[in-house]
């Protein structure tokens, strides 16, 4: 009966650091405004909503920056369940900027008058809010809540085109599998709680470190939890939803899913690995190794076969996820923890910039061609040279060709692998090397269409790119080139990122 008097223990209200929560609060406020405004303005003014939401995101950036500049580096709330440290700040800004670009993409897409509805913005912002929370969550419960917070709106976004069966299918598949995966994850979490007798990640880590005993249940829990997030980052073999969903969902949403929600998944994964399972690396290192190798390879070989550009990009983003996982496969080894974290963060940043750029191009081109086929890019360079060159830059960056952003990301990933100086590391590095060659097979194929093929239908009227897309392209292309030519910049942010409470060896 002793649990009863625990229940009876008197409750003290936790002190809340509102400055630390400012970004989330701003965002929450913004989405409420969107919801309200949407109610009261008439159809012709709905474009205001996109403006409001974009400004909300920018406004949310302000406290992030201020927090970054404030001297207190780590702000811990709710006895460590919600932490604002450099890592969370970096990824938060990443989410916000990615969200901003997605808003830019969407607004242009919506000017086609397809879904002239405020809820879209609301859901988008909500999902972003979930991501921000995910960045700071250090507790199984809050992680779970944040995960659902960012997922549920995403399910609806994916199914956004109500009349379009493909969109429905996308939504349903995403939903069913997503929920199933999170259920499995929850089962793992419950076991984890049972093992560690706490939902606080640092406690879990400390418990294992203290007792040192390591049960089958624990292993099972670790695997199931990782599976949950492996689903989120669409790691093979938990990737199956991604191609279908990406293809069916509206393109801006696809961009959002393939960048932001994937990044969120990685954030959660990193937090868990670094704070909760630091001593369970014997369990998750082989798992992640296999996942990473499989993800790279399968993603690539399947991408080779695609003829729909979005689907191809979907597979490519799967294989890119494999590259992000690469350093984590050795993160548990002595010394390579920090470099692995750096590699992951940098890769996420660069990948976000590049992939969003790709989607911007896809939107711009599909405005004209109304087709998702790769062959519809034939002769793009001849009638829209700027778009052609930019697409080339983005694809080359994804392929990891210097001096474009992608190469430094891949480089740092390889570096942390080889730094571990373990045979597993070398082996995975070789797999990665081979894959980066295969990857060029399909990126180069698109380039070939753009530069070397004739225009499929002789129509060579140039493409008019809406202003918001121009802005998006400028941001992404600028970032891609900047990270490539002066990698120091990107690495600077990536290097700031240490996870508070991570048990480093």
């Amino acid at each position: 009966m002793q649990h009863l008097n625990i229940l009876a223990a008197q409750w003290v209200a936790p002190t809340i650091d509102y400055f630390g929560l400012a970004p989330e609060l701003v965002l929450a406020g913004g989405l409420c405004i969107v919801l309200l405004v949407d109610l009261f303005i008439d159809e012709r003014k709905k474009w205001l909503l996109s403006v409001i939401s974009s400004f909300t995101l920018l406004a949310a950036m302000v406290p992030v920056l201020m927090l970054g500049l404030s001297e207190t580096s780590v702000r811990s709330m709710f006895d460590g369940r919600y932490v604002v440290d450099n890592f969370s700040l970096v990824v938060k800004s990443l989410f916000l900027l990615a969200g901003y670009v997605v808003v830019l993409l969407s607004s242009s897409h919506i000017e086609q008058g397809e879904y002239w509805r405020g809820e879209y913005w609301f859901l988008l912002l909500t999902s972003l809010l979930g991501m921000l929370m995910m960045a700071s969550s250090r507790d199984l419960v809050s992680i779970f809540v944040a995960l659902e917070f960012l997922s549920i709106p995403a399910y609806m976004l994916a199914a956004w085109r109500k009349r379009d069966p493909k969109s429905n299918e996308a939504g349903v598949k995403y939903f069913m599998l997503g929920v199933f995966a999170s259920a499995v994850m929850l089962y793992g979490m419950s076991l984890m709680y049972g093992v560690a007798n706490s939902t606080l990640l640092t406690d879990i880590g400390a418990k294992v470190a203290a007792t040192g005993e390591f049960s089958a249940v624990h292993a099972l829990a670790v695997v199931f939890v990782i599976v949950g997030f492996a689903f989120k980052v669409s790691a093979v073999p938990f990737h199956t939803w991604a191609p279908d969903t990406y293809e069916g969902a509206p393109t801006p949403v696809t961009a959002f899913l393939s960048v932001a929600s994937k990044a969120a998944g990685f954030v959660a994964l990193v937090v868990l690995l670094y704070t909760a399972f630091p001593l369970a690396q014997d369990v998750w290192q082989p798992l992640i190794w296999v996942l990473s190798a499989l993800t790279m390879t399968v993603g690539n070989v399947l991408a080779l076969k695609q003829h729909n550009i979005v689907r191809m990009i979907a597979y490519s983003s799967i294989s890119q996820g494999g590259f992000v996982l690469m350093p984590l496969a050795v993160a548990g080894l002595v010394g390579s923890g920090s470099t692995a974290l750096r590699a992951v963060v940098l890769y996420m940043i660069v990948y976000a910039a590049t992939n969003l750029g790709v989607f911007a191009i896809i939107l711009a081109v599909s405005n004209k061609t109304r087709s998702g086929e790769i062959s519809s890019y034939g002769g793009l360079f001849s009638y829209a040279p700027t778009l052609g060159v930019l697409m080339t830059i983005f694809l080359a960056s994804l392929a990891g060709i210097p001096p474009l952003g992608g190469w430094i990301a891949k480089f740092v990933a390889f570096q942390s692998l080889i730094q571990s100086q373990s045979n597993w590391g070398y082996a995975l590095a070789l797999v990665g090397a081979v894959n980066s060659v295969i990857a060029f097979g399909y990126y180069g194929n698109v380039m070939r269409e753009i530069w070397m093929r004739p225009v499929p239908d002789g129509d060579v009227t140039t493409i008019s790119v809406p202003g918001s897309l121009r802005l998006a392209l400028a941001i992404t292309a600028g970032a891609t080139l900047l990270f490539g030519v002066l990698p120091g910049v990107g690495l600077h942010f990536a290097d700031l990122a240490e996870i508070a409470g991570a048990i480093t060896r």
Binding site: R342, F381, S382, P385, T392, A396, A399, I401, P402, P403, W407, I408, F411, V412, F414, Q415, I418, Q419, Q421, Y426, A429, L430, A433, V434, S436, V437, F440, G441, G444, M447, R448, W451, M452, L486, P487, G488, L491, H492, D495
Partner: protein, 513 residues
């Protein structure tokens, strides 16, 4: 060292000036082809001017030291810095790249290949130039890697957009091959970095500390580099991208490919692989030599089998680079000197041959040797220039080709100590046989193309009378420097050797050779 660092801005300017030109091109409206050409021309001239000024400032008395060294912060997090400099090995190639680019630009002024788009064409040429020059001055592995890769995309597009019928296949093949090589090379670089204590990527530092790595580890690291460089060279098993790329590439592409790009690989061997990993180099040398002589014979046989002029020249590149690699594999400073000289000579000669092939294609609309003939009657000047280059290419003493070929063979007679003499002497004899085959295929080609009477113009659609004009002014301007270079280097090889020798000796001091 201090004086060696003065006016260290030179190299950066010389390397990135073309990029400036590219930016200008980008900002220009598409329509004005003439203006585009002028910008490209001015840029490349300015670049070469900077290059010549560099050579003028270069202190030839200490050619073995890195000069104009600039060392700036770049990626401090991974201990890689913007470290550049030239010594006697880099300088000739650095200049050669600038010269070739200028000549190619001049040649392109009235030879922009189909499908037009001069703006993009010249922009790519200039980007290419930056990449090549940068590779030769980079003294930091990561920087080297970046420049090394930077040349890929432009060349990919040059081949793929302005190339021949098979261009897309050829370009993809070229790209995948090279990318595969460089991926492994990158892994090797990283391994090297960590095995030397993860201190720095700068080549001089690695040269100091690379020797301390355990031998078997060295061998593996070397293997990675070997693949990366050998694909570029290309050496025997990795060569098949070359004929396709050369055959399909536009004339300008082939020229740059033959003159500079292939040298990136051999340069990598001399600059990085050999001095940094001496023990591994000793282990690998016999195999490299073996592949080299295989390449020599193999390339020659390939040439004899060709019916297409350009493809034949392409295969001859395989053979000639075989000689270069043979020289390198001896690990003696004599052999490496020969190899370096061979690189420059091959650049001039084969570049020139590809120019000629381009002009032939332009006039005859075919490169089928059987359809050509009697060039000496229809176009005596072009014919004789062709003969001159063929002679130079088969290593006629008194022309540049000989000083790359003969010393390489000579050096194989006694390689650096620690290498098996008998093996290398066998290589020597085989290589000598290769020279005969070279004479065979080149003269055979020359006889069938230049001698005899002109085939009737019905073999190609247009009437030959107005098509077959002799060498044009632009061609003269573009070619004369190359021809002079071939002749002058042939008569005064010391012009080059005196620069190379100290640097090479310094580089190979680890081998006591």
């Amino acid at each position: 060292m201090n004086m060696l660092q003065e006016n260290n801005w030179l190299l950066s300017v010389g390397t990135f000036l073309p990029m400036f030109g590219v930016v200008v091109l980008m900002l220009m409206p598409k329509a004005q082809d003439q203006a585009v050409k002028n910008v490209a021309l001015i840029t490349s001239i300015a670049t070469l001017a900077v290059g010549i000024y560099t050579a003028f400032k270069f202190d030839f008395d200490q050619a073995e030291k890195l000069q104009f060294v600039a060392d700036a912060q770049w990626i401090s997090v991974i201990k890689s810095s913007y470290l550049i400099g030239v010594d006697g090995i880099s300088l000739p190639l650095y200049l050669l790249s600038m010269i070739i680019t200028l000549l190619v630009v001049i040649y392109s002024l009235d030879h922009v290949p189909n499908p037009g788009k001069p703006k993009a064409f010249f922009a790519l040429l200039l980007v290419l130039q930056t990449g090549m020059a940068g590779t030769f001055i980079a003294q930091d592995l990561i920087l080297f890697f970046v420049f090394f890769e930077l040349v890929l995309l432009p060349m990919f597009f040059l081949i793929g957009v302005w190339g021949g019928e098979q261009r897309q296949y050829a370009s993809i093949k070229f790209f995948l091959y090279t990318m595969f090589g460089s991926a492994l090379m990158l892994v090797a670089f990283l391994a090297l970095f960590f095995k030397t204590g993860a201190e720095s990527f700068s080549i001089p530092y690695l040269i100091e500390n690379g020797g301390s790595i355990a031998k078997n580890v060295q061998i593996w690291i070397f293997a990675g580099m070997f693949v990366g460089f050998a694909v570029k060279v290309p050496m025997f098993p990795f060569h098949t991208w070359l004929p396709d790329a050369h055959t399909q590439a536009p004339t300008q592409g082939s020229v740059i490919l033959a003159a500079i790009l292939l040298k990136l690989g051999t340069y990598g061997f001399v600059r990085i692989a050999l001095p940094v990993l001496p023990d591994a180099a000793r282990e690998w040398a016999p195999y490299i030599g073996g592949l080299a002589v295989i390449g020599i014979i193999y390339g020659a046989l390939g040439c004899l089998a060709q019916t297409d002029m350009k493809r034949l020249i392409a295969f001859s590149s395989v053979a000639h680079m075989g000689f270069v690699m043979l020289g390198i594999s001896t690990l003696t400073s004599f052999g490496v000197n020969a190899a370096m000289f061979g690189m420059v000579a091959h650049g001039l000669i084969t570049g020139m041959l590809f120019f000629i092939a381009g002009s032939v294609k332009e006039r005859y609309h075919t490169l089928e040797i059987s359809k050509l003939g009697g060039m000496l009657t229809t176009m005596p000047r072009l014919g004789w220039i062709f003969g001159f280059c063929a002679m130079a290419s088969l290593g006629l003493p008194g022309l540049a080709g000989f000083w790359g070929e003969f010393p390489a063979i000579l050096s194989a007679y006694n390689p650096a100590e620690g290498l098996n003499q008998t093996v290398f002497r066998v290589f020597m004899v085989i290589a000598a046989l290769g020279t005969v085959l070279a004479a065979g295929y080149l003269l055979w080609m020359f006889q069938r193309i230049a001698f005899g009477t002109a085939k009737d113009s019905s073999s190609h659609g247009h009437s030959s009378s107005d098509e077959l004009h002799d060498v044009t002014t632009f061609e003269w301007i573009a070619w004369t420097p190359l021809l002079l270079g071939i002749l002058v280097l042939g008569i005064l090889p010391n012009l080059l050797f005196s620069v190379l020798d100290p640097a090479v000796q310094a580089t190979l001091s680890v081998f006591g050779g």
